[in-house]
Symmetry: C2
Subunit: 226 residues, 2 copies
Amino acid sequence: MKKAVVLLSGGLDSSTCLALAKQKNDVCFALSFSYGQKHSPELIAAKKIAQYFHVDQHEIISLPMGHWGGSALTDPSTPVLDYTGKSEIATTYVPARNTIFLAIALGWAEALKAQSIFIGVSSVDYSGYPDCRPQYIEAFQKLATLATKTGVEANPIMIEAPLLHLSKAETIALGASLGVDYSITISCYRANANGLACGTCDSCELRKRGFKEAGVKDPTLYSAAH
Amino acid sequence: MKKAVVLLSGGLDSSTCLALAKQKNDVCFALSFSYGQKHSPELIAAKKIAQYFHVDQHEIISLPMGHWGGSALTDPSTPVLDYTGKSEIATTYVPARNTIFLAIALGWAEALKAQSIFIGVSSVDYSGYPDCRPQYIEAFQKLATLATKTGVEANPIMIEAPLLHLSKAETIALGASLGVDYSITISCYRANANGLACGTCDSCELRKRGFKEAGVKDPTLYSAAH
């Protein structure tokens, strides 16, 4: 029986990743985090997507990262800015976020006897986050193999990052072919309580362009006309 | 200003590690986890030690690892066994525990602008856990450098494991010279509600021998005579 743990934020990438994981595994376990993100409506989207794809279990883990600050995504005094297109690391970077998410996924995966962890990171259309790069995923794979009993027993849990080299348009085309309902996903860093997207943050900009380039109708509901 | 995050379980090793971190830093932040461990009295010890060493902040983070099973330390249906001396990975191994703890410490350290993380792992007198070995710590250092903004900016957070190559006796001798009060530490995997140690689990056995070999009086309170 093939089992996978899938990191599910509720956005476009992780939902596509879940669709892929479902195709390649018998059983999928979704893992989300309530980490103090201002855009917590993404967790409602995550619940809907987990149901949509009939995952076997959906865990939402609370972490106190919001109290620590250090990111525009969690710190009330640091606003989320509009998209700038700069190549530097965006202020929405959250310290060690993917490392924390992957580490917890690794523990759950080993306890579940799952063979893989799916993470929807991309290093193409992204915000310059260091923990979305191929060399980062490679380093985590090495760590996961050394860190665990299954790894030492020559049966390591595999870190699957199938979107790593895909553009947003390619991800959307792939997801559309797999039946992802993007209307229930939320990518916006400033999503309001009704789940409406701002249309101008990094995440909205990359998503909007992706739909346009993929030639797929954008089902996103925006809080203002764009 | 030199700042460090110190992983503090409440046991002998992490308390010695905190004593060392205090010596080498201006400010220390202690980090403990309530992860469903059966021997939760160690957290009371962790609080006492954090106070004893006047740490600037002590965070205790709750994680649902206890629901996952996969370890004698967390699973009610799997007993903690007496020390056997076997070289294989003990049943008290907790899936990905140090990776989860270090990952969360990394996030907190970066938000705090701390320069280092102290972890009290040893690969000498230990239970065969894969995430206590030098190659594991080395792999985590590489990951931490790639994962973070500070790492990318050539100012990585350093993973300090000063006890990695020390025997238990050497750790105790070091801690005694640094003024660690071992009577308030709890290492036992079967510590009872009053904090009394069983005296026969892996952790007790290694600790008892360590005091004997170091020629330091063992201040541990046992639930039965040994």
